[in-house]
């Protein structure tokens, strides 16, 4: 029940979806689309998991008056009130959109723009020509980097042309190789999941 059952579930659903792809039988195709559609519902439940995890973590912080519990309160207030607002008045309501536009959106895009800062200082300190591979990478990197923007074309017409050739030809070949290899890896891994040979998703001390 604890191990064989789940393996069987993965096997049956997997085989039906595969059969629906390869064969014309209307019954199988219907079953397959149904199973895939159900998966979206289960995945929707999974969206709340992260929230529940953090809710527990910050809840413990507050109850135990742990270090920085005040910040946990802020998290709680934001989480609970926004969730209630969304469920009660729907995401299309003006209030919900106001908070999304003016608090959430600016915070999120600012947070993600940090990556540029890290990259800039890494350019100065970490990206070094240590071996021939890094040398090849950085030289082509420099050409493509300039070819991406107007200043490259302003320096020389050749830069965007060479950059486009790099992206079109050697790069396309390399990505194609990685895609074929990676896709084969994904297919093989998926076969192992469906056949119940790969069970790491059941890891953890649950028995």
């Amino acid at each position: 029940m604890k191990r064989q059952g789940p393996v069987l579930v993965a096997f049956v659903t997997g085989v039906i979806v595969l059969a629906g792809y390869f064969f014309n039988s209307q019954t199988v195709v219907d079953m397959s689309t149904q199973i895939v559609r159900w998966q979206n519902i289960v995945a929707a439940f999974a969206l709340a998991l992260g929230g529940v995890n953090m809710f527990r973590l910050h809840g413990k912080n507050i109850i135990g008056r742990k270090k920085n519990w005040v910040y946990s309160c802020i998290f709680m207030v934001a989480f609970v009130s926004y969730f209630v607002l969304g469920v009660a008045k729907s995401t299309t309501s003006a209030e919900y959109q106001y908070i999304w536009q003016n608090l959430y959106q600016p915070a999120a895009s600012t947070m993600y723009s940090f990556t540029l800062f890290y990259m800039t200082s890494a350019c100065w300190r970490a990206f070094r020509i240590r071996n021939w591979q890094a040398a090849v990478l950085m030289v082509t990197g420099a050409v493509v980097l300039l070819g991406q923007v107007g200043i490259g074309a302003a320096i020389s017409e050749a830069i965007p042309a060479v950059s486009a050739w790099i992206i079109d030809t050697p790069n396309a070949a390399a990505i194609r190789a990685i895609t074929i290899g990676g896709s084969l890896g994904m297919v093989v891994m998926s076969i192992r999941v469906i056949l119940g040979l790969e069970r790491t998703y059941m890891a953890g001390r649950q028995d």
């Binding site: 995945a43 999120a108 240590r130 107007g150 200043i151």
Partner: protein, 278 residues
């Protein structure tokens, strides 16, 4: 502490360098973009009334690159009076769909339900897109506002994915691959990918294989598209700042390496990190 100070100087210079061309534009050239051209002319050649799906995988984490291009393509569709269905598989996508709806209604006289529909967000990523492709009418029964889709005249013309003239996505993820896998490979509906510049080295292979009919790459692609439809906007404005930013990072990299090689020559480098590798 010394190091931290140095980092802050690097960052402040970055901010100023990027800010200046935003205030004082340089008007640098843009260069060609054959894959963007392909996307433009495909949409441009669709007859009036064609139905297109825009998959808005846009979020605050990537809107800098994706929102300008989504806006440009949406405007193009509206100029040509195509009907638009907006779908999304990321939780933030509908917020951007509503912005497009507002624009369509105010600037182009679009009527919601007749010319344009917003489908609700669906969880599940690739499988959600696959179920849309396999049976769109079963995958969606209501729109984003909870109204039954059968109430709308637009929906009457959508029996299956094959009634769609083109599907475009705006993604920082793998949606361009999902479209190639589940829409083009299975149903031969033409797909256009609008993706962040970083995905282009990968997406270009799909374009070359014919799995995508067009490709809009990052801010540059968006700026190109804005110029094609003759409506310079957010992307065009930021291209000069992009130029200076790129140049600054390149100079930092070159400078960093000069310091590194000098230190190595002087033997001051604390570690023997530069050993040769295979």
């Amino acid at each position: 502490m010394q190091q931290l100070k140095q980092t802050h100087i690097i960052w402040i210079v970055l901010t100023v360098a990027v800010l200046l061309p935003l205030i004082f534009p340089l008007k640098l050239p843009l260069g060609p973009s054959p894959e963007g051209e392909a996307a433009y002319s495909f949409i441009d050649n669709l007859p009036q009334g064609s139905i297109s799906i825009m998959v808005l995988e846009t979020a605050p984490s990537n809107e800098g690159e994706l929102w300008p291009m989504a806006l440009a393509v949406a405007r193009h569709h509206m100029e040509k009076q195509h009907r638009i269905i907006m779908a999304t598989f990321v939780p933030d996508g509908t917020m951007y769909a509503e912005k497009i709806r507002a624009l369509a209604e105010s600037d182009y006289g679009y009527v919601y339900g007749k010319d344009l529909v917003i489908l609700p967000y669906r969880a599940g990523g690739e499988t959600a897109l696959a179920s849309m492709a396999d049976n769109i009418r079963a995958a969606y029964q209501q729109d984003h506002y909870g109204t039954p889709l059968t109430d709308y005249p637009l929906w009457a013309d959508v029996k299956s994915i094959k009634d769609i003239s083109v599907i475009s996505c705006y993604t920082a993820g793998d949606d361009h691959l999902w479209l190639a896998r589940h829409v083009w490979a299975k149903y031969q509906v033409p797909c256009i990918s609008g993706n962040i510049a970083l995905s282009t080295p990968e997406a270009i292979v799909y374009f070359k294989n014919g799995q995508l009919v067009g490709l809009i790459s990052g801010v540059k692609g968006a700026a190109f598209y804005e110029q094609k439809i003759n409506m310079p906007g957010l992307a065009t404005q930021s291209m000069d700042a992009q130029s200076i930013g790129h140049l600054y990072l390149l100079l930092l990299m070159i400078g960093g390496n000069i310091v590194y090689w000098k230190q190595k020559k002087d033997g001051k480098n604390g570690k023997q990190g530069a050993k040769k590798n295979v």
